[in-house]
Structure formats: C-alpha cells, structure tokens
C-alpha cells in the first residue's frame, strides 16, 4: 500500500511551518510521528496534497518543569513520556500505547491533535486538567483539555494551527493508575479508565477519573468522582463509586464490544484504577 502523491516540505521554523499550511490551503497537513497519518494515507483514507513535516522545527521537544506544571513539547514521543515517571499518570498511560516501535515515533501532540476516541492520552489530559498551546497565523491561544476534543477525530486545533506544547499540572502527592482493556497488548483500548487520587490519611480528599473509548471524546466519570470525594477510601466505597463510572454514557457498540459490555468494562476498569492509585 502506497500513499497517493503529495508534496513535502520540512520547514526549519514554526513561522515557516504555519506559512506552509496557509499557502498549502485546505489539503495541507502537518506531519509529526506519522503513526496515525501515514497508515491513513496508505489506505488512501487521507490524501493530503502537501505534508508539512515538523521534524526540523526547533523548540517542540522535551519535558521541563516550570513551577507547578510540566511543559511538554508537542513532538515528544510516547517513549519519552513513558520513561518520565515524574509525569505520573501520563507516563503510565504512555507506557501502554501500542508497542515500543510505535511509541518511538508517535508523539503526544500528534495524538492530541488527531483525537482518536480510542487513543490513550486524551483522557489523561482531562484528569490532569492539561492545556495545550496552539500557534496559528493569527497568533497564539490556549485551549483546555476539556475544550480540545470535539468529536470523532475532530479537535479544536485549526487547520492552520500547530499544537506546540502541552501544559501538564504536576499532581504532586496524588496517586495514579491506568487500566486499559484490550485483547492483545499492542491493541487500542476497548475501554480504559485512568484515575488520580489525593488521599488525606484514609480519606479521599480529591479524585478524578477519565474514560477512554466510552464516547466520541474522552469523558470524566463525574458521578463516580462525586461519590468518592470526601469518603473513606475503603474497598466498599471504591466499589460503590466505580459502579457509577458509566453513568450518563452511551458508548456505541463496535466490532469489539457492545454498549452494555463497554459500560461494564468502564465500571471494572474504574474500580481497578482507583484502587491501584492508592498503592502508587
């Protein structure tokens, strides 16, 4: 399978990359790791006329702590996140994306801009309450994770905008865990749940739970969060709260799982994720 013909450019500055998108019109596309876009192009489900490769644009790599948050460059590959334990839940989520080869190439910016409903990082962005920086011809803006994901493969990133960095609040002192349900380890999530828990002694001071692949966009399991916040972190209370994890969701059935089964998985994955957050 070979992609349809296209023009290619690898600009050396952010300004030039944005200009290339503007000049390239609506069929121009950014290329980061290529691990979502190239498979689509090989299947001819995407046929951009111009690829603007970000690989030479400086300043889009790396992880830096600034006060209470991490600044993560958009081109940072999953593999680098995986080996950055200071990122907490984000490192744990990155570690189970596909396989090592894919994690070497795929980038956080590409994953968030693409907005696949089964992708792992978006739900973690919701519960860390991350923000992304978008740079376009008309300047720069910030978008919260809650406003970033709009629909299947549709995000707030404009056609002429580059997602340059992600601001991840450091959840110092919170425990975290990610439970992803799939049949083979390199597969996408059938359903997954991530949790971050702030315990005060044995009491749940705060908790956030994110769900992957339960809708066109990542979700917060707010009913479950509300049920646990302020409560004793006992197995019974965790189980009771997790029973509410699928509340208000209506995930479409697909080849892997029916609506009912996905809701069941959400409850089980949420319970495991909350419980394991206490240990880590």
């Amino acid at each position: 399978m070979i992609p349809a013909e296209f023009h290619y450019t690898a600009p050396e500055s952010l300004e030039d990359a944005i200009q290339a998108l503007v000049d390239g019109g609506e069929d121009a596309k950014l290329l980061a790791g290529g691990h979502s876009l190239i498979p689509l192009m090989k299947l001819r489900l995407a046929a951009p006329s111009l690829l603007v490769d970000l690989r030479k644009v400086p300043g889009l790599h790396g992880i830096e702590r600034q006060d209470g948050a991490f600044r993560v460059g958009a081109l940072t590959p999953h593999r680098k996140l995986e080996f950055s334990p200071e990122l907490g839940i984000v490192a744990k989520v990155a570690a189970v994306i596909a396989d090592p080869q894919v994690r070497h190439r795929g980038t956080i910016g590409g994953s968030l801009a693409h907005g696949d409903s089964a992708s792992d990082l978006p739900a973690a962005m919701l519960i860390t309450e991350a923000e992304v920086t978008l740079q376009g011809p008309d300047g720069q803006r910030s978008v919260t994770a809650a406003d970033l994901f709009l629909d299947y493969m549709t995000t707030a990133v404009g056609e002429q905008e580059v997602l340059t960095e992600i601001r991840l609040p450091a959840l110092d002192g919170w425990g975290s865990s990610y439970h992803k349900f799939n049949r083979r380890s390199e597969d996408w999530a059938m359903v997954a749940a991530c949790a971050v828990v702030k315990a005060n002694g044995s009491t749940c001071e705060d908790v956030r739970i994110g769900l992957t692949n339960m809708a066109a966009v990542p979700l917060r399991a707010t009913a479950a969060e509300d049920a646990l916040r302020g409560q004793e972190l006992s197995p019974e209370n965790i189980a009771k709260a997790a029973e509410l994890a699928a509340e208000g969701t209506d995930p479409p059935s697909d080849l892997n799982a029916s609506t009912e089964y996905k809701k069941h998985l959400a409850r089980v994955m949420a319970r495991r994720a909350i419980a394991d957050s206490l240990a880590a």
């Binding site: 992609p3 690898a10 192009m41 593999r79 396989d99 090592p100 080869q101 070497h104 190439r105």
Partner: protein, 161 residues
Amino acid sequence: MSTVPVRLNVNGVKHTLEVEPRLLLVHALRDKLALTGTHVGCDTSNCGACTVHLNGEAVKSCTMLAVQADGEEVTTIEGLGTEDDLHPVQEAFWNNHGLQCGYCTPGMIMAGAALLAENPDPSETEVRHALEGNLCRCTGYHNIVKSILDAAGRSSSEVSA
C-alpha cells in the same frame, strides 16, 4: 511528481537518493538499496517484520516515509553483524532455534537488539513486552524469548513456558 533528495546513513554507508516523498522507508531500503533482509509482513504497522533501527531505536519502516529519515542513521538486519561475526542476538536465535520459517526473524532480532541496547539484563516479562509489536506465525514465541534472554546472558532454564 517531483522528487526530493534524501540522505541516509544505512549500516554505516552514506547514500543520497532522489525519491518521491511518498516512498516508504522500507521500500527505499529494499527496492533502492537492495537490502531485502527487512521484510514487509502486514504493511499496516502491526507485525514488526519491517523493524529497523533509526538512530538506535526500533521503528517500523513500513510506517515511515524515507524523507522522515533524512540525515539520520538507519541500521538494518544486514548491518547488525556479519556472517563471520554475528550479533549476539543473531547468534542466540541460531543456537536456540529462535525461528521456523524466518519471516518475522529480522524484525524480531532488531526488536530484541534494541531492547538489549537499552536494558542489557531484561527479565522474561520485559522481553515479552519489548516484542509486543512483533508477530510470529510459527514459533509460539517461546524460543524467540529464550533466544533474547540467552543473548542477554541469562540461562534459558529461567524461562518458563
């Protein structure tokens, strides 16, 4: 369609190719440089038969454009060892019967070698995780895992079925 120049350092040899931007790295290696040790299995980023090293890291060359490797170092199975001086992972696959039909083998060896470069003393679980992106239709993986542990200097009696 216009072509663009791509400079590739493959197995220590520098090449400059004029390629269409849509040329995949695996096709550049196989069809332009006649390095046919890198296989195409699934062509959909799943099987890992096309695994090569890009600056020392395992990547799937069916899911990269050759232009994305411009200026970078690529190592293929041909560059890992020589017939007289096999790479320890190659030697271990031979000694432990780590292959049957051999189709997945170049990718398995490249994935295994990348693991050992990063983690010279992996556990069996770590080896299995490192091979998540590589599929084998023949062996049931047992001897593949055994081979990689052997290359790491671990006794194969430590490997459970």
